[in-house]
């Protein structure tokens, strides 16, 4: 299939436009009003880039290629459409892992081809330049070779690491796997993998084929390292880890893009690399932890229970409903428990009833409520809560003292005042939603279950706090019934 030469300009132009649209699309994510259009434009750019790639000269294996694309797209599309909104974190992990795997595979193909180019040359030492020069093949430059290796390493780690993250979030792998000297073993895996790569790389730069065992060993160890590094991290830390692997995949794509000399891959990859890095930092910061602590800290679970004076005072749903029905301002504070109970629809139904009665209702969202940044926002949006009813932590914290009732549903750590008062607490220093300063607090949770950080919460024992025990969805339902009973 030969094409007129101007086609190559068309292909280049389409890649360029796609790169612009990616940046443009991400830029439009700065407001919920424009974000959707942005992703649609980015999608159009992506579709065009994929289509024109078929026009490139000299492509073989078009049949398997088309089949692989159709199968991959269809499967992912189907899964992505069907999956529940609460399962979004693991979906992102899964798709990100696939991208990392693809980048690693591209690098592997390049390295295999590089190696194969030597079959024709007797591999003698010192290297015979005449033999090499006789090759028609242009070998990879040292920089390209190094980036190919780096891309494989990063991509492979992102691949297996993301799959483990997926499994953990999906609940297939509940416990953390911890054993003595684990960090040492992990370090050893990493060092050996890198050593294989460096030896092979030096051979390649000097003009020798590298031993197949080195190449295969390197790839396998990189894959194993992704698993080993992710296993000890608690399931609740996964979002930070996923964001980091997202940045990894971006970098791997950029590096392989350099090897393949495709600017669109370089730019999209680097943009994602930078974006993911920033997002990871923001997330770790909002949790008041360092990235190192997330990766190696063995955080969460266990926890040394601290005793708190006072008792938790229950309230029943109808009393709680009445309290809010006659309040002037109500703040609803959702947390991970709302996601578990899938209670967002019922809560919004309840809030709408309150609004109809003239109560001023706001949703107060902590940046790390739930298990993903912006997790609560997505769930509330799903239920149909307009985003102008949703307030950020910084905006609402000064207002809490004017609020009559705070309804906490399934949130725990993000409203724990001990983050301010107890320097020994693992969450000490994390900024929290200051619900304690509301006139009344109602907390919906199932029992004495602890939150992600595994610590007691002084809020639940406070004088102005009442506990409404029950599953989030059921409790919201009872509140709705309570309101309806009021009206007769």
């Amino acid at each position: 299939m030969t094409l007129p030469s101007y086609m190559s300009t068309v292909v280049d132009a389409v890649y360029f436009i796609a790169a612009v649209l990616f940046i443009w699309g991400l830029k439009r994510m700065s407001s919920p009003r424009t974000a959707r259009r942005g992703i649609v434009w980015a999608g159009a750019g992506m579709a065009a880039a994929i289509m024109v790639t078929f026009l490139l000269p000299g492509l073989n294996n078009l049949g398997p290629m088309a089949i692989a694309i159709v199968v991959g797209v269809a499967l992912s599309w189907w899964v992505g459409r069907r999956v529940a909104m609460t399962a979004m974190p693991q979906m992102v992990a899964l798709f990100n892992g696939m991208g990392g795997g693809a980048a690693a595979a591209i690098g592997a193909v390049e390295l295999i081809r590089f190696n194969r180019a030597f079959i024709a040359i007797p591999d003698t030492y010192p290297i015979r330049p005449e033999a090499w020069a006789a090759q028609t093949a242009v070998p990879l430059s040292a920089v390209e070779l190094a980036l190919a290796f780096l891309g494989v390493l990063i991509g492979a780690v992102s691949f297996t690491g993301s799959l483990i993250a997926f499994a953990k979030l999906q609940g297939w792998m509940d416990r953390r796997f911890v054993f003595p000297l684990q960090r040492f073993v992990n370090l050893a895996i990493f060092v050996i993998a890198v050593a294989c790569a460096i030896i092979a790389l030096i051979a390649g730069i000097e003009g020798h084929a590298f031993a197949w065992s080195l190449l295969i060993g390197f790839i396998l160890l990189a894959l194993v390292f992704g698993i080993a590094m992710t296993l000890p991290i608690g399931g609740a830390d996964m979002p930070v880890v996923i964001s980091m692997y997202n940045a990894f995949t971006g970098l791997a794509v950029a590096f392989e893009g350099f090897v393949l000399q495709n600017e669109a891959m370089i730019i999209a990859g680097m943009v994602v690399g930078a974006a993911g890095t920033l997002l990871t930092q923001l997330m770790a910061k909002a949790m008041n932890r360092s990235l190192a602590n997330v990766l190696f800290g063995n955080f969460g679970g266990g926890g040394e229970a601290q005793e708190i004076a006072g008792a938790m005072k229950p309230i029943d749903a109808s009393d709680a409903a009445v309290m809010m029905a006659y309040a002037e301002r109500v703040a609803i504070v959702p947390g991970y428990g709302m996601a578990v109970a899938q209670a967002q629809h019922k809560i919004w139904e309840f809030a709408k009833l309150l609004i109809d009665r003239g109560v001023k209702v706001k949703f107060a969202i902590h940046p790390v409520a739930g298990r993903m940044p912006g997790h609560m926002n997505v769930l509330l949006a799903e239920a149909g809560v307009p985003y102008d009813l949703i307030a950020d932590m910084d905006d609402i914290n000064p207002e809490f003292s004017n609020i009559d009732v705070a309804l906490v549903i399934g949130a725990n750590d993000v409203v724990n005042p001990m983050a301010k008062t107890d320097p020994n607490s693992p969450i000490y220093g994390m900024p929290i939603l200051d619900v304690a300063s509301c006139k009344n607090v109602i907390v919906i949770k199932r029992g004495k279950g602890k939150g992600f950080a595994g610590i007691e919460n002084a809020l639940f024992y406070a004088d102005n706090t009442r506990m409404l025990y029950g599953d989030g969805q059921a409790a919201a339902n009872e509140l709705i019934q309570g309101l309806k009973a009021l009206d007769g």
């Binding site: 700065s30 899964v79 798709f95 693809a102």
Partner: protein, 112 residues
């Protein structure tokens, strides 16, 4: 034996050399960082998923890798690359679009 050459499916001329690549890396990183720093927390989950979609461009790389593969091993790895990348791109898009579709202001939801 031209098939032993590195895959130069994307271009024959005008190579991106070391420094040019550095410039592009640097500028793209600045751009990504600055743009993402303006995204509000409320959109961080869709942003994560959206940037996940964007690196799905790896599919065009996978297609070129498979398109120039010759030995069975290369073809096998190439097919895996295309399959995974296609999954990345489609899944990333669907999930992001689904999430963003849900974000509505009071005005918009009133209209429904």
């Amino acid at each position: 034996m031209p098939y032993d050459a590195p895959i130069r499916g994307f271009r024959g001329d005008g190579m991106i050399t070391g420094f040019l690549a550095l410039y592009i890396f640097m500028l793209a990183a600045f751009t990504g960082y600055e743009i993402i720093a303006r995204v509000p927390v409320i959109l961080h989950t869709p942003l994560m998923s959206g940037s996940n979609f964007v690196h799905g461009i790896v599919l065009v790389g996978a297609m070129v890798a498979l398109g120039h593969a010759t030995t069975p091993a290369e073809i096998a790895i190439g097919v895996i690359a295309v399959l995974l990348a296609a999954g990345n791109v489609a899944g990333g898009y669907v999930v992001t679009e689904r999430m963003l579709e849900m974000f509505k202001s009071s005005k918009q939801s009133d209209k429904q």
